[in-house]
């Protein structure tokens, strides 16, 4: 019980810190899954004496969640699903539930099921976020009244209160989910048979498709581009997987074609 309390407190602190970055402050993109999940993995791994496995789990989960949430943007009034909390909680649940198991399949299934739960938790996080913003609206009205009455101190109080609410929301949410979520997840995984378990690993392998599709849909604009895109996929299917070559080619194509588009316009 003490161990899970400590883990839940650690996760709550990471969640609070990371969630502040998503819209409230900084926006360095620490809240992006590709950063938030490995960060949680490292801290959790440090606490449980397995830093490297923690980082690896974080990177794997962060990669998939980054792809699932790739289209969610905090533009204007839009409040996207809370990808930061989803990332922190999926690593917290998956790694805490599975790290003691000797079986590779069980560890992977823990991560995948935690990831799927976290997607739903990201939606819950969005609802709480909307509620916090409504609270901020009340605070704003109070601040406006005070400033009109020459009480300028209210601005700093109101502004800090908004940030504090965001942190507290994430802290409490992460603590509760981690504290009550790890044991039921472990029990659920143990109840699965081998066939069901490997089914979850197949899901994990397919999930990147969503992000790739969304990104391609957003980037492709003409039929000619689509033809070149398909040609590119064929090219990289036949060739050996050389990531440095892909990065180099992306740089050259980006540079050359942007110049062409510019000249055309």
């Amino acid at each position: 019980m003490i161990e899970i309390t400590n883990i839940a407190l650690l996760v709550a602190l990471i969640g609070g810190f990371v969630d502040l970055d998503s819209t409230a402050t900084w926006q360095f993109m620490i809240s992006q899954p590709i950063v938030a999940a490995p960060l949680t993995g490292v801290f959790l791994g440090f606490a449980l004496g397995e830093i490297l496995p923690g980082l690896r789990v974080g990177l794997m989960i962060g990669t998939i969640l980054q792809l699932v949430w790739i289209e969610q943007l905090p533009m204007g009034m839009n409040v996207p699903p809370d990808a930061a909390l989803a990332s922190v909680l999926s690593v917290a649940l998956g790694f805490s539930a599975g790290h003691m198991s000797d079986s590779y399949v069980i560890r992977e299934v823990c991560n995948t099921v935690a990831l799927l739960i976290a997607v739903a938790l990201g939606l819950v996080g969005r609802s709480i976020d909307i509620w916090i913003r409504k609270l901020n609206t009340s605070i704003e009205k109070w601040v406006t009244r005070k400033i009109e009455g020459d009480q300028v101190f209210a601005l700093a109080v109101g502004h800090v209160a908004g940030g504090t609410l965001t942190f507290s929301k994430a802290f409490v949410f992460c603590f509760v989910v981690t504290f009550f979520g790890v044991e039921p997840l472990r029990a659920f995984i143990q109840s699965l048979n081998f066939d069901q378990s490997t089914g979850f690993i197949v899901i994990q392998g397919l999930l990147p498709v969503i992000g790739f599709s969304v990104l391609a849909s957003k980037c492709l604009q003409t039929k000619l581009e689509l033809k070149f895109f398909i040609g590119g996929i064929v090219f990289f299917t036949i060739l050996p997987a050389l990531s440095w070559a892909a990065i180099l080619l992306a740089g050259i194509i980006g540079w050359k074609l942007s110049g062409k588009a510019h000249a055309g316009s």
Binding site: T25, W26, F28, I30, I34, V35, R56, L59, T63, Q66, V68, G76, M77, L123, R133, K134, T137, I139, E140, T144, I147, E148, D150, H159, A161, G162, T166, V202, G205, L206, L207, V209, I210, F212, V214, L215, A216, S217, K218, C219, L220, Q221, F229, G232, I233, V234, F236, T237, A241, S243, A246, I247, A250, I253, G254, L257, S258, G259, A261, H262
Partner: protein, 263 residues
């Protein structure tokens, strides 16, 4: 002679990191905007009543791309200074603020959210799939270079140039940069799709095609991944919610696994 020194401007740029801490449905970023601007206003207005009016003016609705906010703050401080000297009217400040926040919201959202972040994410995903453990650090460094330059350089430019800052925007060729990023992201996707969607079928194992196993598996994976991407893209274009698509994909994966088409 301008009243605000570089240290004060950087202090305001630093405070702009907290722009959205109190984001709300009424004034959106208004409290954050005034909170960041306050040290500058305090320096410009010596009279308490003038300062009070300036506070009220900037507690009005404000919403823009957060990375460009410090540039707007620079321009507004320039105008406030001129207003204090009696060179311009209050309406100029209001109109400029409204115009700039709309323009920079469109430019910033398009550049950062629609182009720069997807490109850096695609690059980071490629490195992460390769098990490059320092990927998150590289992502943060690469993403934040233009962000931090804009935050701190933007406020100085805005303050020095005032409304003329809008005239130097074409120099940055933002549309060209966005196009380049879009093509680069597509190229990275061409590599990611056939290599990092894990589709394994028992067919190749059961037919004992040992000598070509890895090549054939890559071909099968490439074709399968392309088909899956095409189907999901059609669903996405048909305005089906991404979470619903994820759910359908999961069910399909479980069924294909159950029928032993995928392992």
């Amino acid at each position: 002679m301008q009243a605000l020194n570089r240290t004060l401007l950087w202090n305001i740029a630093f405070r702009s990191f907290f722009l959205q801490a109190s984001w709300n449905y009424h004034g959106m970023m208004n409290m954050g905007f005034l909170y960041a601007l306050k040290p500058g206003l305090d320096k410009i207005y010596i009279e308490a009543s003038d300062r009070q009016e300036a506070y009220k003016r900037h507690l009005e609705y404000f919403n823009t791309n957060p990375y460009f906010a410090s540039t707007i703050m620079g321009v507004i401080l320039n105008l406030e200074e001129r207003f204090q000297k009696g060179e311009i009217g209050e309406d100029i400040i209001r109109d400029t603020k409204e115009g700039l926040m709309t323009a920079f919201a469109a430019i910033g959202d398009g550049l950062f959210w629609d182009s720069w972040r997807p490109f850096v994410a695609a690059l980071a995903l490629l490195l992460a799939f390769e098990n490059f453990l320092i990927t998150p650090i590289l992502f943060l460094i690469l993403y934040n270079i233009p962000h931090l330059i804009l935050r701190f350089k933007g406020i100085n430019l805005g303050y020095k140039m005032g409304t003329d800052v809008i005239h130097i925007l074409p120099r940055f060729q933002i549309q060209r940069v966005r196009e380049g990023l879009r093509y680069a992201t597509l190229t990275l996707l061409c590599f990611l799709i056939p290599n990092y969607v894990n589709l394994h079928t028992p067919f190749l194992i059961s037919h004992r095609l040992n000598e070509f196993f890895f090549f054939l598996e890559k071909i099968v994976q490439g074709i399968g991944a392309s088909l899956a991407v095409a189907l999901v893209s059609i669903a996405y274009h048909a305005k089906i919610d991404v979470l619903m698509i994820s759910f359908l994909l999961m069910v399909s994966a479980l069924l294909l696994h159950h029928w032993e088409i995928l392992i």
